[in-house]
């Protein structure tokens, strides 16, 4: 099976600093793949390169067999490569429903329609409501995003991504800022996504990573150190070294 998302020799430099160091990443279709690494390893930079927010200094990115290295971010999103942000990037003065409806409408290709109101389009509203219901956000549908707690806002971040019907979903620390009780629920939702959605997850919470991931890549100083099954990674001495700073014998 050919990988759904792949990079070849991906490099990104900022002046003299190498943020991404010849990364060859390969994500299989339907994977539950986690990307871990210490702070500053360049995980978010990698996501930015994959989605097209940043341009690589060298190397290639392939999405479902297509070379998307020069493709702008919005086109990749339209192909099904969807991401969430580590820090919420929401529409603070829109209501929850308005935000998700906007995402649904864009995905449906209605973004250039300028005559009929968005709010009059029943299919869009229904789909947005269904997403909100699934994430238990429906009760807050009319709340202005700004007025919600951060944990609730995090769910909106996920809702926006789901509204785009992703084929490949890149989650950048989805549990960050979410109280522990709620993060379990969040992961249940993610875990229940069907297999035709491929998931690449960045997370720091190792419990969640090991419960969810079927494959783990370890990123250190911009380079891929290891990639293997969770049991192998969990006991690998080099991983412990990288995280704890010294080898434990």
């Amino acid at each position: 099976m050919s990988p759904v998302l792949q990079t070849h020799g991906l490099v990104r430099r900022f002046g003299g600093f190498v943020a991404t160091d010849h990364v060859d990443l390969s994500i299989a279709p339907g994977a539950r793949h986690a990307l871990i690494g210490p702070n500053g390893a360049g995980k978010t930079t990698l996501i930015n390169l994959l989605t097209g927010y940043l341009e690589p200094s060298e190397g290639r990115v392939e999405l479902m067999g297509r070379d998307v290295t020069r493709m702008p971010q919005y086109e990749r999103a339209r192909l099904g490569l969807v991401r969430t942000f580590q820090i919420n990037q929401l529409f603070m003065d829109m209501t929850v429903l308005e935000s998700v409806a906007l995402a649904v409408s864009e995905r449906s290709g209605l973004g250039t329609r300028w005559w009929r109101p968005l709010s009059a389009r029943g299919e869009v509203i229904d789909e947005a409501a269904a997403i909100l219901e699934r994430l238990k956000l429906l009760s807050d549908a009319h709340a202005t995003t700004r007025n919600l707690a951060y944990g609730r806002q995090r769910l909106i971040e996920i809702a926006l991504a789901l509204a785009l019907r992703p084929k490949v979903l890149l989650l950048d620390e989805p549990a960050a800022g979410v109280p522990t009780g709620e993060s379990q629920e969040l992961f249940e939702t993610i875990a229940q996504l069907p297999r035709d959605v491929t998931i690449l997850l960045i997370e720091h919470d190792m419990n969640l990573v090991f419960r969810f991931a079927e494959r783990i890549s370890v990123l250190v100083s911009g380079a891929l150190l290891l990639e293997d099954a969770p049991e192998v990674i969990a006991h690998h001495p080099r991983v412990k070294e990288v995280y704890l700073g010294e080898a434990h014998v």
């Binding site: 906007l102 009929r116 109101p117 389009r121 997403i131 789901l162």
Partner: protein
């Protein structure tokens, strides 16, 4: 080729949510207050028969403010030079009128086209760089046009105004009279039609995407939105609207002079929109009404006093009433609604 819907089809939303959803579905419909508002121009026609020229000015300024609201209130593009498009529209009419092509509707269309073309071309200058450089580009373009018009006074008439502008009757039937009656009705009709289009635009998916761009331009490409394309489109439309406003001014007065391109006009427009409240469509109209009437009532005032108070109001609005008239009103309504809701919740445990 889309994936299956990972969420599934909607089942049964909660009863409370159903009512709220219904409210949203109806949110684009015309509200009673809006009907009331549009009675005002009609009432004014009968109530102030001696002031048609002033009323026309209100309508024209409203349209101008509406054009800025589209690009700024909805798309978030700061412009210090919106008068450029107003002036292009006005001068288009002037040039047509002084060369025998004084048909008003033709003038409107060509003015809109010229202004929109300029808007389209200059929009590409706005896509790169920070807010500051965008501000300066809009300012620079307007200043360039002003200088051009100032230098070619043989054509434009400079500060004294273009000579020999003749406007033909509308549809060959309605001649512009010297009391401005025809001009007023004409301006209001044009304003209403363009307002109606703008209203549909902002409620449409396209309009909502503009709101998204204003609130979080970073998020939008991640939602699959070609942001630059949308900005170019709305800037072109906004420019076209401003051009129509300028054309109306030139047609109702049969006169166009250099001040249609002035920085003062751009700055006053910003003030009007901020005063009324940006991003509500009606804010610009409200601001225009207040501004033009105040200007008229205080016209005996020393122009320096007027400018001082303008400046002071601007400072105070920015510091204390940032949403302008409509924005502040909306905040009050929302906070009193929230207080009523929380009171209801504490009083009736369910």
């Amino acid at each position: 080729m889309t994936t299956s819907n990972p969420i599934g089809t909607p089942s049964h939303p909660h009863p409370g949510a159903a009512a709220a959803l219904d409210r949203y579905r109806r949110s684009a419909r015309w509200k009673p207050l809006e009907y009331l508002f549009w009675c005002l121009p009609v009432l004014a026609y009968f109530a102030f028969p001696g002031n048609y020229l002033l009323l026309s000015q209100i309508a024209i300024t409203s349209l101008f403010a509406l054009s800025l609201d589209l690009i700024f209130g909805y798309a978030g593009i700061i412009s210090l030079g919106h008068a450029a498009f107003f002036g292009v529209g006005a001068y288009t009419v002037g040039l047509l009128g002084s060369n025998g092509y004084g048909d008003p509707l033709l003038g409107l269309v060509l003015a809109a086209a010229a202004a929109a073309a300029l808007g389209f071309l200059s929009s590409f200058l706005l896509l790169r760089g920070s807010d500051l450089s965008r501000l300066m580009v809009t300012l620079g373009v307007a200043l360039m046009l002003y200088e051009l018009a100032n230098k070619f006074t043989s054509v434009t008439g400079g500060v004294d105004g273009m000579p020999g502008v003749e406007i033909k009757p509308i549809l060959g039937l309605f001649d512009f009279d010297m009391f401005g009656r025809v001009g007023y009705v004409y301006s209001v009709i044009v304003l209403f039609v363009l307002f109606w289009f703008a209203r549909r635009l902002v409620h449409s998916p396209f309009g909502q995407s503009l709101r998204g761009i204003r609130m979080n331009a970073l998020r939008m490409p991640a939602l699959g939105v070609p942001v630059n394309r949308r900005l170019v489109t709305v800037y072109t439309i906004g420019a076209g609207y401003a051009g129509v406003a300028g054309a109306l001014l030139a047609q109702t007065n049969a006169f166009v002079s250099l001040d249609v391109l002035s920085f003062q006009r751009s700055a006053d427009l910003l003030l009007i929109l901020i005063l009324g409240g940006a991003g509500h469509l009606y804010g610009g109209l409200l601001g225009a009404i207040v501004f033009v009437i105040a200007n008229y009532l205080l016209s005996d005032m020393n122009p320096q006093y007027w400018q001082f108070w303008l400046g002071l109001i601007l400072v105070l609005v920015v510091l204390f009433a940032r949403g302008g008239i409509l924005g502040t009103a909306r905040l009050w309504i929302e906070s009193s609604r929230q207080r009523a809701q929380s009171r209801a919740r504490t009083e009736s445990p369910s």
